[in-house]
Symmetry: none
DNA sequence: GATGAATGAGTTTTCATTCAT
DNA sequence: TATGAATGAAAACTCATTCAT
């Protein structure tokens, strides 16, 4: 389960320039704390240790920086969520769902800034700037699994998007609770498992 | 069930000045569309049909306007949610919960701008400006009902805050789905009822 | 020597309305602390316990309030300075000068806000708004005494305005020193007497 | 004696940026005429030939601009006053004092805007923003000379700060008179010399 | 006379973005 | 590529003044 502890910085870049990464990281940290409107680009550049103009060398607009960051994090989250599911091809729908669910929640807990940013973004007018195809790409694995579950007769025969929305907001709520309740790791893990059972009970 | 259709504007004022109301209404409409950072105070004043300075006569700060609006809407939502529950004292926990759940969802659907604003606010750094006691006041009825349900043995013996968070995010998700799916009223009502049953199944 | 302790409020009005006085008093106190640009008319009205608009009932402009206050205080100061001089008609020039000098200094120490305001005003562009005849009226007694001294051969045969300016700035400096040095009354009085002797030595 | 005629602009900058200087110069000219509250930053920027934002690139606040200008001018004045005094190490206390006195007065006459600004500033609430150590640094040379004079038995044994205050206000008064009397240079120079003798007579 | 809500021009300040180096 | 000084449009907020009551 060590993939949970992969450091954020290591995950976000790899291919691009060093500076681009530093900018994204700095932006994320500041956005999480002050919101994107409360964070001037100058502060981001400063925190990233680059010049003011350099930021605009990599992102032609503040808006582009924000949406880039969103797509990056959302992609990362959905990949992370689907990670082990892919590996355990032999597993049943329930087990695969449990993995996906727990992975997503773990990612959120490991990347509080990232998850917070995603929430902020989702509830902002910026969301409209994301191409629908991009959105689809990211929900596809989840919707696939749900469809599989419905077809196999495990999950209630309701629109997959509906189920997906319920699952997403359930994860959102769990994260919210964990952030505020500050449980011990063991308690947290136990409650996480139990919450999946509750969720599954609701959906089947 | 006609109280669901009370118009927002009628609900928000009554006691205060005319202009103060107009400002709040205008702010709500613009915030919902452009976000609060995307909405200059000058635009709000203009939309409200008052002078620029008048806005600051009623709200000494843009921030104060935003938080005032939030508290107003949140209070309205929680009162609306609890409305019939109070009346039906004889009802069982499940029925009272159903009422509270459906009421909240109805309010969200009747006041899409208001609900959208609440979401934006909740996910913004502004939330920290709200006194914790104010937050408690608003979640109290819901927590009371949950505690009652746990005591009576209906709801799982988990922390009431935990249950509350799950219920809230469930409502949040439902609203999200309805906003995007554009169902017929009848379908919507049916799915709403069914979703409560699912929720109840999960919690018991 | 009890005239030194005449209360300011008693001195400033007498004939006009109660409210006009309260406004002037409040203005003086606030101007002394925050400067006239740092003091909004609304604050003055508030401190005076009258409505915002009432201020403009008595003074059609903030500027008029400021200049009225200046003329009032300056008149008071010069009258106070000349007070005993008038009474002691038999005294010699030196003694009359000493009285005038000490009186002025006492007034400054009894009315620190007033003196501070006069200084601020004198060094501001507002000074240009005062009619030259008004200025002359106030310096007349002092200039008369100086001319008398020059004619009598006591004071150096230099332009009276020149002497007057030196005396004024001497008083200004003495006040400045007393304000900052916080001497005991007895020491203060002694130094005051000594400073007159120094001044007289310089001028003769 | 040609150093008296060094132009202000030449003195103020040298090391700093071009624009920073232009802003300070423009500010000085406008402040002298309209007072600092009567001078919007936009006008300063305009007069300096820079963009509005550029002013805030160099001075984060209007207040900072004002205090920077004050410290700059006050430093310049005290350096200028002490200039030749330092050179004439062999001279007696009286001659050194005469130089310092005349230098200060010459500076005031050469830099009427600067002196006027210093007066305005000194009589404004802004003065409190200046660190006491900064104030001390500037009065140190003068106090030193006075102390020397007292020790040597020339100047009356009174507190040096007291003497300093009297000298300062004497200079202030002289300047005031010269500004208003518009004498011929020769007359002015003669009166200046005479006024020093009068001052010295007073202090010894 | 007295009020105080309402006004809107004007002020300081911020900040995304550009561009010469 | 990278820089950071410079820009100027736009934002929040202030405040002297008016006027209907």
């Amino acid at each position: 389960m060590e993939q949970y502890f992969v450091y954020f910085c290591g995950v976000i870049s790899q291919s691009d320039t060093d500076k681009r990464d530093k900018i994204l990281q700095a932006a994320l940290k500041l956005f999480a704390e002050f919101g994107f409107h409360g964070t001037p680009t100058s502060k981001i550049a400063q925190a990233a240790g680059v010049a003011n103009g350099t930021l605009f060398h990599y992102f032609s607009t503040k808006e582009e920086l924000i949406t880039s960051l969103y797509i990056h994090l959302k992609t990362q989250l959905s990949q992370f969520s689907a990670a082990d599911v892919v590996l355990e091809q032999g597993a049943g729908v329930k087990e695969k769902s449990r993995w996906a669910y727990l992975n997503a929640l773990h990612w959120a807990l490991q990347n509080p800034d990232g998850f917070r940013f995603i929430q902020q973004f989702t509830n902002s007018p910026f969301l409209l700037l994301i191409a629908p195809e991009e959105v689809k790409k990211q929900t596809a694995p989840s919707l696939g699994l749900i469809t599989e579950g419905i077809t196999a007769g495990f999950i209630k025969p309701l629109p997959p998007e509906f189920i997906h929305t319920l699952v997403s907001s359930h994860i959102y709520g769990m994260n919210e609770f964990f952030l505020q309740a500050k449980l011990l790791p063991a308690q947290q893990e136990k409650l996480m498992q139990e919450s999946f059972d509750m969720l599954w009970k609701m959906l089947t």
